[in-house]
Symmetry: C2
Subunit: 432 residues, 2 copies
């Protein structure tokens, strides 16, 4: 075979990495596949933009049809990002009988199960290892190494930007705006950080992982989501005092027939391995009935880590094409498991509030929580503000139902003695 | 298809788990494969031994030929352990055109590359995910997710028994014999702990991982190996003071054309993720040119974690058999890279010795080290023993060559002022 032709869609940070490594590692990849893998065409928005990695101008095109209608191209690598027009191109590639490798978490989160079913109909594969966790092998283990397990839970730190910010807030005692500015200047956060700090990016990735792990269809809209914007330096101080770290966790749990899927700031015990995942690193902890807890850790973003995952998928497909193996892709199982409403989840809570500094207030609060069947595990009261005559109370609860906690918060909010509900953070007592 | 027949060799801790889960998860596995996977025969040493998981006596046989000569059996699961007769059975299974799934680290470490080549000749596969790291997906990622990388290093904690012992020594300040006895009573260490405490088990696993990672043939005899028996409570105290933890690391590094492979107690920075791998847990950190550092973490042994890996391999093979995909297993690349002699490695060292408590001794020692081109990074001197008139000196060196260090140790040993060389431990400044 002379070689396998691929069409590359996108020549940004990731596309440039893919093009460069395909060229630099040409011989090694040919050795692994059995024949060379050649980029035939690259879809770009602008033909004359200066790029970090320059691709021969003969290969560049602004017309997606050049790739989608080229029968010689058997694999389309989609690294444009964003939902539109990437989703349409992936759909058309599949219809034309081309395999697809994509790093697109938004498309896979919103349309993955449907696209996988379409791919199966057309006897082609969509591989998407790069869509979650950069170069950390995650999709592969779910599809193979962990396949014999019933997965009971995923606890994941899958957004490097927010983990960098939370790590800095913890170590420097700084508030979010200061750290965010620093992260932006280092290129770890975007000018518009909404997708990261609001947990949207993490929710996309959780949708992908939980669909795989639980053999069902989870979309971003199914995921309860809170970002990191309400966290203050105070929360980190109290967390530390209580033996916890604060992480933005993406959590999925099997819940007797239904599944819980949520992204929110979470207290995790300081001595747990998740608490030790610092900076821009990602970690995905998976719990299975056979394997127990396993954890996958590494850089979750960046040009080369993402290229590592994209090329692993390309090599996988190219090996099969070279060997003439007929693709019989597995579609998702098609089960649709119900999603547990966030009202129904049961967890422990950290509750910080500012209250009037006078006798009997703690008793009133305990009474209100008790009325909602929420029992208190521990209380910290300090930092009385003499001038304002207010005190700060931090309560750790035992396991309670979210609905009950929300009811209690409403009542507390109307209590004269409560100046302000500072923050409510869920706790995962994940011991390794 | 009515079903795929497998022959199970061994019904011990792992074999029992495999038999039980194959039965309990029959429907789920059939769904994943497309048809049922049935145990047709189980090779056991004794037909009437009491077992934790009882298999119908109709399935039991004491004659390996019953499995090896049965044309209906397409997959042999070898979970007997030990080199003999497992290796012969695997060899015969391959010759009979049967696929093999094995958890046997000793056989794969000593004969893996040759067996893989034989399997390729016979157009069958040997899968061995369970041979390293229990249920942690490791072999899979090397064969797929990390395939586009040039691997530069592996740093692994791959023996749970020794990691449990070292964790206890660190937390309790106890010496090895005490902790070993405790580990034995908990079932974490065997009555004869040699394979674990001498690093033999870790060396088997490193041989397997490094052969895969560096596309070459590494056997146990190629691996420089030191066990944990020389470590004392003192070493843990000093390590802690210097900001390090002590772990039995299995290390493989690409070394301009050759590779380093070694297993020995190692100082790792306390804030590194490897230092945080405690108790019976395993972790394998892999460094690649694209992916950077990734780490795989979980329980490295036990019936169910190992069963998880065995069944993943069985399902993988069974899916291909069901789909009629012709197996074209990849043999190892056949490159044979030279192994760097331990004399040639360059690393930092921790050196603890007991010396005469009199002026000028430290100067003499520094002189001897300097003569061997070893420069000192820091010194701790304390714990003078008044009666013995000796003092303990702990030296952290800058990077030096092993050969030079060994020369210096010989000279130091002959120095009148040196009472005893306490320990020499290599340092890996692995920051994440």
């Amino acid at each position: 075979m002379e070689g396998i032709s691929v069409g590359l869609m996108g020549l940004g940070v990731v596309g440039g990495g893919v093009a460069r490594v395909l060229a630099d590692s040409r011989a090694a990849i040919a050795h692994q596949v059995g024949c060379p893998v050649n980029i035939k065409l690259v879809l770009v928005r602008s033909l004359d933009k200066a790029r970090e990695y320059a691709v021969s101008s003969d290969l560049l095109t602004q017309d997606a049809n050049d790739i989608l209608l080229d029968d010689d191209i058997s694999i389309v690598i989609e690294v444009m990002g964003g939902e539109t027009p990437a989703e349409e191109y992936i759909r058309r590639a599949i219809r034309s009988g081309k395999h697809v490798v994509t790093a697109n978490k938004e498309v896979m989160a919103k349309h993955g199960p449907e696209l996988l079913a379409k791919a199966k109909e057309n006897n082609v594969e969509i591989l998407y290892e790069a869509s979650v966790g950069g170069g950390i092998p995650l999709i592969g283990p779910f599809k193979q190494g962990l396949l014999a397990n019933n997965i009971s839970a995923i606890h994941a730190i899958i957004n490097g930007t927010t983990n960098y910010i939370l790590t800095k807030m913890a170590s420097e005692g700084a508030d979010l705006p200061v750290v965010l500015k620093e992260a932006q200047s280092l290129g770890y956060a975007e000018a518009d950080p909404t997708n990261d700090v609001e947990g949207i990016d993490a929710a996309y990735k959780l949708a992908i992982l939980s669909s795989l792990a639980f053999h069902t269809t989870v979309g971003p809209q199914d995921i309860y989501r809170e970002g990191i914007t309400k966290l203050t330096a105070k929360d980190f101080r109290y967390a530390n005092e209580l033996g916890y770290s604060i992480k933005l966790l993406a959590i999925a749990k099997a819940d007797s027939g239904s599944i819980q899927v949520r992204v929110h700031p979470t207290f995790v015990p300081t001595d747990s391995i998740l608490a030790k995942v610092d900076g821009v690193f990602n970690a995905v902890q998976v719990e299975g009935d056979l394997v127990g807890k396993v954890l996958f850790y590494g850089r979750g973003a960046g040009s080369l880590p993402t290229t590592s995952a994209v090329l692993a998928d390309v090599i996988d497909l190219a090996q099969n094409i070279y060997r003439g193996i007929d693709h019989q892709p597995t579609a998702p199982m098609g089960f649709t498991k119900p999603i547990t409403s966030v009202d129904e989840i049961r967890t422990r809570y950290y509750l910080r509030m500012s209250v009037a500094d006078r006798p009997g207030v703690l008793g009133q609060i305990a009474q209100i929580l008790g009325d909602s069947q929420i029992s208190i595990a521990s209380v910290i009261q300090k930092e009385a503000d003499e001038t304002a005559q207010s005190a700060e109370i931090v309560i750790m609860t035992h396991t309670a139902q979210e609905k009950a906690m929300r009811n209690a918060l409403r009542v507390l909010n109307n209590l004269a003695a409560v100046v302000e509900i500072g923050n409510l953070i869920r706790v995962e007592d994940q011991h390794d």
